[in-house]
Every structure is written in structure tokens, then in C-alpha cells.
């Protein structure tokens, strides 16, 4: 059952990425290019997505449980530390180089373009490298 609901959530999420135009890197780069020919779509996408998701978070946060009554632990909302800032900076630079972030990156694998596979392969290598590094030197 968990498998089915997660699959459905993924399909709806993926359809949203596709319909919103966020799987076209030129739209994303156009949003980031505030000093050029600015494309506002990404702001509309994020605004709509956050507005729809927020009530679900409010519900779960108040009850401490999801709609099935299972206890849910939500992530820390306050802690600001250097890994957060450093990581967000590195991610932002990488995102700005291609206009692709992990969600659209996965969707773009459907094009069977070698570049999409190189991108996602590099994402996985980067994630694995950091995991190994953290295991070797905890904290």
C-alpha cells in the first residue's frame, strides 16, 4: 500500500514537473537570468506548489500524525548551520550551470539523451562521494 501511494504521488509530481515547463532547462535558466530576458514561470510553479502543499503540512504538524493516523516526524525547521549554507551554495552553482535539478533530471532520463544520463550519473557520484566522506570522517 505504501508502495502504491508513493508511486501515485510520484506520478502526479512528475506530471506537474512536465506540465509546468520545469523539465525545460531554458525555462529554469530564464528565471535565474534576472539580468536578461526574465522568464517568471518558476515563481508561479513554486507559488502554486507551496500553496497546495502548505495545508497538508499544517494538518500533519498539528496532529503529529498523517491522514492514516501514523506518527510523523517533521524535519527541524530552525537549525541554521554551515553545511546548510555551503550545500545550498554548491547546489545553486550546479543548478545554474545547467538549469537542471534532481526532479527534472530524473524526468529528463526519459529523453534517452546521453547528457541527461551523464548529469544524473554525476549527481549520484556526488551524493555517494559525500556519503563516503562523512562515513570516513563523521562530523
Amino acid at each position: 500500500m505504501k508502495f502504491v501511494t508513493a508511486l501515485c504521488a510520484g506520478v502526479v509530481f512528475g506530471a506537474g514537473l512536465l506540465l509546468s515547463g520545469m523539465t525545460e532547462p531554458a525555462n529554469v535558466l530564464g528565471f535565474l537570468d534576472v539580468f536578461g530576458d526574465w522568464r517568471p514561470q518558476l515563481a508561479l510553479v513554486m507559488g502554486a506548489a507551496v500553496s497546495v502543499t502548505a495545508p497538508a503540512f499544517l494538518y500533519v504538524r498539528r496532529r503529529g500524525r498523517n491522514a492514516r493516523g501514523e506518527p510523523v516526524e517533521l524535519p527541524d525547521r530552525r537549525r541554521i548551520d554551515s553545511p546548510l549554507v555551503a550545500g545550498a551554495t554548491l547546489f545553486g552553482i550546479g543548478w545554474g550551470l545547467s538549469g537542471i535539478c534532481p526532479g527534472p533530471g530524473i524526468v529528463l532520463l526519459s529523453t534517452r539523451s546521453g547528457i541527461a544520463f551523464v548529469f544524473m550519473g554525476a549527481v549520484i557520484v556526488g551524493m555517494a562521494a559525500l556519503t563516503l566522506l562523512r562515513r570516513a570522517a563523521p562530523g
Binding site: A6, M46, G96
Partner: protein, 178 residues
């Protein structure tokens, strides 16, 4: 320059067709910058409605995963946990990630303007992989779910990665290419 831009726009920017042109008066090889240099025609009302409707669907997907699975729909977090074989069930994670690609397999993803040079894509991917794990989230985890959870932490992360991406595009598009 205008001619060059329209030429770049009409290219089929795929990895099979390496585009070798020089760009601007400085003669930079545009081969790795072509995707960044591509300009789409201006935004239409239909684009705006698609953005809103698509965004709402992303929200429905995120809300579904939270309400029915009790999980955060952060793509980099889910992918990272699959890679490091994190404790807990892997089934739902793999199901969610597979689900993402299903609509594109059915309807196609069009012909997106991807980077032309694989080294460019690899550098971008590495930074995205390392950055999202170090910073505990990407556009979906911090930008959608975190903001929806009214998280100060995610708001800061979103502002930082957007800022870094804006500066990167500024440098590559306006300071290096032209």
C-alpha cells in the same frame, strides 16, 4: 549577434550533435555554453497557466506523499537515501522516483535544451549531488516542502541556492559568453 542567437535557438541541442561555433567578439567556443545561451520566445498566457497548473500538481503529489506516507517529497533526499541504503523501507522511495518519470515516458518530454558538452553536465551534476546532500535538500525538499512547512531553515536554503544560481547564470551568460 542576433543572427547567432537565432541560430542557437533553432539548434537541436542534443549530445549527438556537437555544435562548434564561436560566440561573440571574443571568440569563446560556444560549445559548452549553448544551452545557457539559448533564449526561448517570450512567455505566453498559456505558459503561465501551465506553470500554475503544473505547480498545483507538484503540490498535490507532495501533499499525497506527506498525508499518506508521512514522508517529505524531496527528490534529492529520497535519491540520497536510496544510494546510501538508508535504514527504513526502500520500496516507497524507489516507487516515488519511478513514478516521476512515468508521465514523461507516456507523453514525452519534448526536446529540452540540454547542455551540449558532457563535461559541463558532469560538473553541474556533481555540484548538485554534493550540494543537495550537504545542504539536506533541493528545489523540491527545501523550495516546495520546506517553505510549505514554514521552515526558516528551508527559506534560508532556498534564498541561498537561488542567489548562487542567479550569480552563476549572470557570470556564464553575461560576463563570459557575450
Amino acid at each position: 549577434m542576433r543572427l547567432l542567437q537565432s541560430g542557437i535557438r533553432s539548434w537541436p541541442l542534443t549530445w549527438q550533435e556537437p555544435a562548434r561555433v564561436t560566440c561573440g567578439a571574443h571568440g569563446h567556443p560556444a560549445v559548452i555554453y549553448a544551452a545557457l545561451n539559448a533564449r526561448l520566445p517570450s512567455v505566453t498566457t498559456a505558459d503561465a497557466w501551465h506553470a500554475l497548473a503544473g505547480g498545483a500538481l507538484i503540490g498535490v503529489g507532495s501533499a499525497t506523499l506527506l498525508l499518506l506516507n508521512g514522508r517529505i517529497a524531496g527528490v534529492s533526499g529520497i535519491l540520497g537515501n536510496v544510494i546510501r541504503a538508508a535504514p527504513g523501507e526502500q520500496g516507497w522511495r524507489i516507487a516515488f522516483l519511478l513514478g516521476l518519470i512515468v508521465p514523461a515516458m507516456i507523453f514525452g518530454a519534448g526536446s529540452p535544451l540540454l547542455p551540449v558538452d558532457w563535461r559541463w553536465a558532469a560538473a553541474s551534476g556533481l555540484l548538485v549531488g554534493i550540494g543537495t546532500q550537504l545542504g539536506s535538500g533541493c528545489t523540491s525538499g527545501h523550495g516546495v516542502c520546506g517553505l510549505a512547512n514554514l521552515s526558516v531553515r528551508s527559506l534560508l536554503a532556498t534564498l541561498v541556492f537561488m542567489g548562487a544560481a542567479v550569480v552563476t547564470v549572470l557570470v556564464v551568460r553575461h560576463l563570459v559568453v557575450t
